[in-house]
Amino acid sequence: MSTETKDPGVVRALRDLPSNLWSSIFRNPLPSTDLERSSTSFTNFFLHIHPVKVHKNTLRPIYTLGLGLISMFLFLILIVTGILLMFYYVPSTQQAYDRMLDLRGTVAFGIFLRNMHRWSAHGMVAMVFLHMCRVFFTGSYKKPREFNWVIGVVLLLLTLFMSFTGYLLPWDQLAFWAITVGTAIAGYAPVIGHEMQFLLLGDSTVGQEALLRFYVLHVAVLPAILVLVLAIHFWRIRKDGGLSRPEKALAVPAVVRVRVEASATKKTYGLQGFVRGPFTKVGNVPDDSVYAWPNLLLAELFVLVLTVSVILCVSLAFNAPLEEPVNVMHPPNPAKAPWYFLGLQEMVSYSAFWGGIGVPGIMVGLLLLVPYLDRTAHGVGRWFARERLLANTIFLTMVILNVIFIIIGTFFRGPNWTFVSPF
């Protein structure tokens, strides 16, 4: 090991170049011991986001259903396909639709990229929402994870807004009228409604200004914000002690100070064993945790491959819709908002203010306040815990109501928003 004993010549350096390069990049060989496993997770930039060890409960598929992870991977797919689509897209009312035709007909992989982007976007909205439901039903928003729940709600809103801004870009009838309806809902807000609508559209109707604004929001502003908030979301998961788990695990001493000798080989390595300092984690029980490498990584890889394969299959089977070019004089009847806003549109059909602003405002407010209203510490880490019957029932009712409204709006509304049967 010492440089004095052997001075390697250039020839030897060249011969060792591949392995030196490899080890300089990856630092560790494929781990076979616990030390190497810890060290691999700890010293790799991409793996560093993971803890060295995770609680077994975290790896139970039935507990998380992988929903957060799926959302994350869908977001990655969206970034990749979105960037590729940006090479072909022009946010101009003159050209946008033609570009869509080119993507569909002529550009290599164009239609496939668009399908993937479209279905991933819809999927992400659904998955983020389901992820929120999972977190609620397992009581995971409770102390110390209150603020991460708030961040999560912000992420849901950002996701919706991302999807909504992207909806306009194809500049077909579907997009145009959905955005016309969607922004009209924003216009119902008291006092600032019309200003908000104007700010969003840059005009009194959907047109070139709106297209440009939605484009910039969609490809630059919102993704940047989303990535930032997402980073905070992930960082806090770790700082808040990993994923939630049943209270039983908390029976073990809460805070411990551990010092570990880095050179000792035959030893169990605690979390952050390579950092000299106080052990900041709460309730980490060595017996119930396993190494992130390979357990967590394998699970993540599985979710990734599953997500990608589903999106690929869906994109192969179904083409993203592209309707007639925009015709400002000829609205479709009924003109519908994107499906995730159809619940709102349905409510708006009863009362413009309450449906469009009042009820959703109250719902978002309640969501943000949930961890501060529900201060009991019980029922964390289990699905539908008995102690949380009331909270779960209220939440489930809200969810079902929303879903029913969306279903009515999507399938049961015909021309002039009259009730029709899809059967």
């Binding site: 035709l101 569909r104 007909g105 002529t106 992989f109 394969s309 299959c313 592209l322 004089m329």
Partner: protein
């Protein structure tokens, strides 16, 4: 889990394979390869052979900028033999585009030269379809969202099955020709020309506006019909006007398929902008009616009969066995209207019936004279029949077979025909009034005077029939009311002003702020409140009736008895003066805006 992981990975791999195959092995490449091979075997020219050997499949496109927007037509990618005359016998897509002298192609030194070069015109300018696509479904416009499917070749999946076959045929492409060839007698577009003639002959222009051709306002503007609508929609709208809009009162013209096709092709050619036309041309385009050709020397009577047939009056009106089902019966016109009334009504239908929906047609004045002289000649009275039969023949078209005022054409008449089943009204008016309405007609409404068609005893019998079978209640003993015969309040500015004040306070809820009978409450009221600006009507009504209606109300209607609400006779006199003051202007001026 590892197995599942492996399966999922395998799926990813397979899908990638499929996608790559899809994206790299196109059908058009096969078409092009086939073309290169066949052309190589056909050519005897060595240079061309080597050139063909060097060619490899690539996307071919025409970028056309001559028509305003930039068109990108990639049709030549599959139809690569389009300009190669050796391929005129091949199957599509490797068929060459036919050459034709009718299209202006010329033969020079044995080689054809196109008048419409693809590099100048592209493909979609004439054929429709979507130039950017490379798959049949999209480029031919089979995809239901594409507004311009290949004209005359493609029907979209959501089109009506019953007439989709009629929407095929080369002649539909004339609609595209007429974008530039706007000449009315251009020989290349016989269907467009015929459609244009039909547009006049069937009186479409009376209701529909097309810039530079017609100025109708009753129906939708068709200036851009060809741009907005597909041929399927156009066909459907002509043969079944109510298919898309249940409340449409466009008549069914019962045209034969050839006529509908010509009209559809004509309408499809209306795109708002004709490519060959400048703004100034369009500005200069004048309203040019196609005259009905009447053989010289024909007397007015006969010419009138021909005009009524060819101007499609019976698309709305009834004349003997022809019935449009929208407007009143003309069969006894000579007995119920005089020539003065008719010619006023032709020039401006609103001059005699204030709320008539009949369009103002711009026929030459002679035509009106001829139609008038024909109509006034229709003096054969109905045969003597039982009162019930007479009612059915003359009255039921408006008043309904059940006497409920809901006859076949009642929906289109304003004011609506009287509902005889509203007994509260029927029993509160003296019999003389009904007799007078039948014999003299009601001015300003569609009720004509029947005194020349029916003898007094016939009138009496029909009235008896109506009262007996529809009203069913005994005529009430009417108590004499204290109503002045003539308005005791003399007309003065102060009186009119006071009348107006009362009117605005008390009457606008139903009669409307414009006194046109369309106040906010009028929607829920039946019969509808009177239009008090219906000049012929107001002028024909005696002061006595106005006083009685206002003071004591009109039973069976929403008009209350205002004496109970504190109006004095002087107040009513002021209101009557006010109402008359609104109807003083000479007719022509009042209706000039219509």
């Amino acid at each position: 889990m590892r197995l599942a992981l492996a399966i999922a990975s395998f799926v990813v791999l397979i899908v990638h394979g499929v996608v790559f195959y899809d994206q790299f092995f196109h059908r058009w490449e096969r078409h092009q390869t086939a073309y290169f091979e066949q052309a190589r075997s056909l050519t005897k020219n060595a240079a061309e052979k080597t050139e063909l050997e060097a060619r490899s499949p690539k996307i071919e496109q025409y970028i056309v900028t001559s028509f305003g927007d930039t068109h990108v037509d990639r049709c030549g990618t599959c139809h690569i033999a389009i300009d190669d005359p050796r391929f005129n016998g091949h199957a599509q897509p490797l068929k060459s585009h036919p050459y034709s002298e009718a299209m202006g192609d010329v033969q020079r030194n044995g080689r054809w030269e196109r008048r419409h070069k693809f590099s100048d015109f592209g493909c979609t300018a004439c054929h429709g379809g979507q130039g950017r696509g490379l798959e049949n479904q999209y480029s031919h416009g089979e995809d239901e969202f594409w507004p311009e499917p290949l004209l005359g070749y493609v029907s979209q999946a959501n089109w009506r099955k019953d007439f989709a076959p009629k929407l095929k045929g080369k002649e539909y492409m004339e609609a595209a020709c007429a974008q530039c060839h706007t000449n009315e007698s251009f020989p290349g577009t016989p269907n467009v020309n015929r459609g244009r003639k039909l547009f006049y002959a069937m009186n479409c222009y009376g209701c529909h506006k097309i810039d530079g051709i017609s100025e109708g306002t009753l129906g939708p503007d068709l200036t851009e019909a060809g741009k907005k609508f597909k041929v399927d929609y156009l066909w459907e709208s002509i043969v079944e006007p109510r298919a898309n809009l249940a409340t449409s009162f466009m008549p069914k013209f019962n045209l034969n398929d050839a006529d509908v096709r010509s009209l559809v092709i004509f309408l499809k050619s209306r795109r708002g902008v004709n490519l060959n036309e400048t703004e100034i041309d369009r500005y200069k385009a004048h309203v040019a009616n196609v005259p009905v050709v009447i053989p010289p020397g024909t007397e007015n009577l006969k010419a009138g009969e021909q005009l009524i047939a060819e101007r499609a009056c019976t698309a709305c009106h009834k004349l003997r066995d022809k019935d449009g089902g929208i407007a009143p019966d003309l069969s006894y016109e000579g007995l119920i209207r005089d020539s003065e009334w008719l010619s006023d009504h032709f020039k401006n239908p609103r001059s005699r019936i204030a709320d008539s929906i009949m369009p103002t047609f711009r026929f030459p004045g002679d035509d009106f004279d001829r139609i008038t002289s024909y109509l006034t000649s229709l003096k054969t009275p109905p045969p003597a029949m039982a009162p019930g039969e007479t009612y059915k023949e003359l009255c039921s078209r408006c008043h309904g077979e059940k006497g409920d005022g809901a006859g076949k054409v009642a929906w289109y008449l304003d004011p609506a025909p009287r509902d005889f089943t509203k007994s509260a009204f029927m029993v509160s008016k003296p019999r003389e009034r009904f007799v007078k309405s039948i014999q003299e007609g009601v001015a300003g409404t569609s009720m004509p005077s029947w005194k020349n068609a029916l003898k007094a005893e016939q009138v009496d019998a029909v009235l008896g029939y109506v009262l007996e079978s529809f009203t069913k209640e005994k005529q009430r003993e009417l108590k004499p009311r204290q109503v002045p015969e003539v308005n005791p309040v003399t007309t003065s500015e102060a009186s009119v002003k006071h009348g107006e004040e009362i009117f605005l306070q008390r009457c606008t809820g139903c009669h409307g702020r414009k006194a046109d009978g369309k106040g906010p409450n009028s929607l829920d009221i039946s019969p509808k409140p009177r239009n008090l600006r219906n000049q012929p009507f107001v002028q024909s009504v005696e002061d006595k009736r106005l006083f009685e209606s206002i003071l004591y109300g009109v039973q069976g209607t929403a008009m209350p008895s205002w004496i109970d609400y504190g109006l004095t006779k002087n107040d009513v006199g002021d209101i009557v003066n006010f109402v008359h003051s609104m109807n003083q202007k000479p007719r022509t001026q009042q209706n000039a805006g219509n």
